[in-house]
């Protein structure tokens, strides 16, 4: 019995490790091939490079203006996710701690809105944003991300808000704290662990999003990294010595974040799934 289990667990471990390598190998192949010449890539995509052509990277960066795409993505992601944290904290503070008749209606409506996929409202959203002269600007994208992400962020924040004791706020009020100050200096700081989860989840979502970006951030000056990568492949995807370095550059921030923040990311995903 004992022996059988050990053998089984060794086989299991080996299978698991092979599976992990298979899961990861597409990235390894792309990373290795990104420093090869076009000819080398075509000849044998699985060989190690004869020489490391790091020059591929600046070349790719220049030829598809990755710098501006990166900057656009970074700005949209930073503002979008920070605003979502603020908005969801503000909504949950009011709905959980100071419910009024209106807040109950708003909460219900917001929760129902998670059912609306972006594709079913995107056409009017484009219309409305162009009426407000916001198409072709990063603002339009940020507004759309905030609107679309608000319900989910609220779901996650609500849990943290519910777990704070009532006495905190009462004590602050008795000491003469205004409701605004109570929110900013007492309540919000206590929800920071959850707020970080929201920040990470929403930042990943916005960084990786193509659906909203291709519709609202598709102009020359607002192109995000996902849109730029798509444009690159749609035109000249056979030029692998440009396409692969570009892919690697676009993946790097996410891979680094994963390695640095693994525990926090897992915690965030779990919180999002269970409370949402």
């Amino acid at each position: 019995m004992m022996r059988h289990d050990t053998v089984f667990s060794w086989v299991g471990k080996a299978v698991l490790i092979i599976a992990a390598i298979l899961f990861f190998s597409p990235f390894v192949i792309v990373i290795i091939d990104s420093v090869k010449t076009q000819g080398e890539v075509i000849e044998n995509p699985f060989s190690l490079p004869l020489e490391l052509h790091f020059g591929n990277f600046p070349h790719a960066w220049e030829s598809i203006k990755l710098g501006s795409a990166m900057a656009n993505t970074a700005v949209t992601t930073a503002f979008g996710s920070l605003l979502l944290v603020y908005l969801s904290a503000s909504i949950s503070f009011w709905c959980v701690r100071h419910p009024t008749r209106y807040s109950r209606i708003f909460e219900k409506a917001l929760l129902c809105s998670v059912l609306i996929p972006f594709s079913s409202i995107m056409l009017p959203v484009v219309k409305l944003l162009s009426m407000a002269d916001l198409t072709g600007t990063l603002y339009g994208g940020i507004i759309a991300y905030c609107g679309m992400g608000m319900a989910f962020s609220y779901f996650v924040m609500r849990g943290a808000m519910k777990s704070l004791p009532k006495e905190l706020e009462e004590a602050a009020m008795i000491d003469g704290c205004t409701i605004y100050r109570t929110f900013f200096s007492i309540i919000f700081p206590l929800t920071v662990p959850t707020a970080v989860s929201v920040l990470i989840l929403e930042a990943f979502w916005i960084w990786n999003d193509y659906n909203i970006a291709v519709i609202l951030l598709n102009s020359r000056t607002t192109k995000t990294i996902q849109v730029a990568i798509h444009a690159l492949f749609a035109q000249t995807y056979s030029q692998w010595d440009i396409a692969l370095p570009a892919l690697v550059i676009s993946m790097m921030p996410i891979i680094v974040m994963n390695i640095l923040l693994q525990k926090k990311i897992f915690a965030g995903m779990t919180a999002g799934a269970i409370k949402g």
């Binding site: 899961f23 192949i29 091939d33 009011w94 409506a109 990786n208 995903m269 269970i274």
Partner: protein, 294 residues
């Protein structure tokens, strides 16, 4: 504590969220419904009402959306079952105290944190350059297929990439679920001489059913909304066999100028997801009640 009404604070805390909700969700949804009953092309100054004609067209003359629905439904069914299964297996294997589990988790989880466009092109490269190279060296049938060239193989390719992307999510949720199983439950089973496999199937999995439900519906709704993976991997081809519902709406609106038709499709798309999520809420609620009762 008696609460004083404080309308100013209400505006402060809920004002901007309300505006966002109205202008990004509510009005657009109503506009979608409205335009779906017109013949507007999205540009002209005037348009007329045509009743349910756009909806009728979806089922009679412009049946591309129906095909897209069938593709999406089939893809969702296959992908959901396999993603959840794989995710649970990974979670079961990686929730123990195995050495090096964090790096393994990272490998399985990484695809989930990258965007569909990037993942799609990574695989496009592997399938267009890598697989034919292997095919020229080894005579295995699996490397001789033009993976993105025929409808059924393109379907499999998208399904595989989608499972590859989603399994890590299910794994993370299920690891958290397994960790949450009360220790005294498993401990008494161990004392009774139950094998690890028996504990997994008879204690842990039944205990974690609510989490499995969450995962199933998460994967299901993700695959129903599938868009970027198709765009990157096949762009709907070959012969339009891998166009998802979201991609069909996009094409009808922006490439084919069938604006009002696209709005009708958008409304149907919304209704489908509405029903799906409704079922989810019902299922979770029934489970909770059953759990509370027992």
């Amino acid at each position: 504590m008696v609460r004083r009404r404080n309308p100013l604070a209400e505006v402060f805390f809920l004002g901007i969220p309300t505006l966002l909700f109205i202008f990004v969700m509510l009005i657009p949804l109503m506009m979608s419904v409205f335009y779906s009953f017109t013949d507007w092309d999205g540009i002209s100054k005037s348009y007329g009402f045509v009743g349910a004609e756009n909806y009728a067209r979806i089922f009679t003359t412009d049946t591309d959306f129906l095909d897209a629905f069938l593709f999406t439904a089939a893809m969702s069914a296959v992908t959901t079952v396999l993603t959840v299964l794989l995710g649970i297996i990974l979670a079961a294997a990686l929730s123990g105290g195995m050495r090096g589990r964090n790096i393994l988790r990272l490998a399985f989880f990484l695809p989930n944190t990258l965007g569909g466009v990037v993942l799609g092109y990574v695989w496009k490269f592997i399938l267009l350059i890598g697989v034919p190279y292997l095919g020229s060296r080894v005579s295995w049938q699996i490397f001789q297929i033009a993976w993105l060239g025929t409808p059924w193989s393109a379907f499999i390719a998208i399904a595989l990439v989608s499972i590859w992307q989603g399994a890590g999510y299910v794994m993370v949720i299920m690891i958290a679920a397994f960790v949450g199983v009360p220790y005294d439950l498993t401990e008494s089973a161990i004392l009774d001489g139950a094998s690890p496999r028996k504990i997994l199937f008879s204690i842990k999995l039944p205990y974690c059913m609510p989490y499995i439900t969450v995962c199933v519906f998460w994967v299901l709704s993700q695959t129903f909304k599938m868009f970027d993976l198709n765009v990157a991997l096949t762009n709907g081809g070959p012969y339009g066999s891998t166009v998802s519902m979201a991609l069909q709406i996009y094409r009808d609106a922006f490439n084919l100028n069938k604006y009002s038709l696209a709005n009708a499709e958008a409304v149907i798309f919304f209704l489908i997801l509405f029903v799906l999520t409704g079922i989810q809420m019902k299922v979770s609620k029934d489970k909770e009640e059953k759990y509370d009762a027992s």
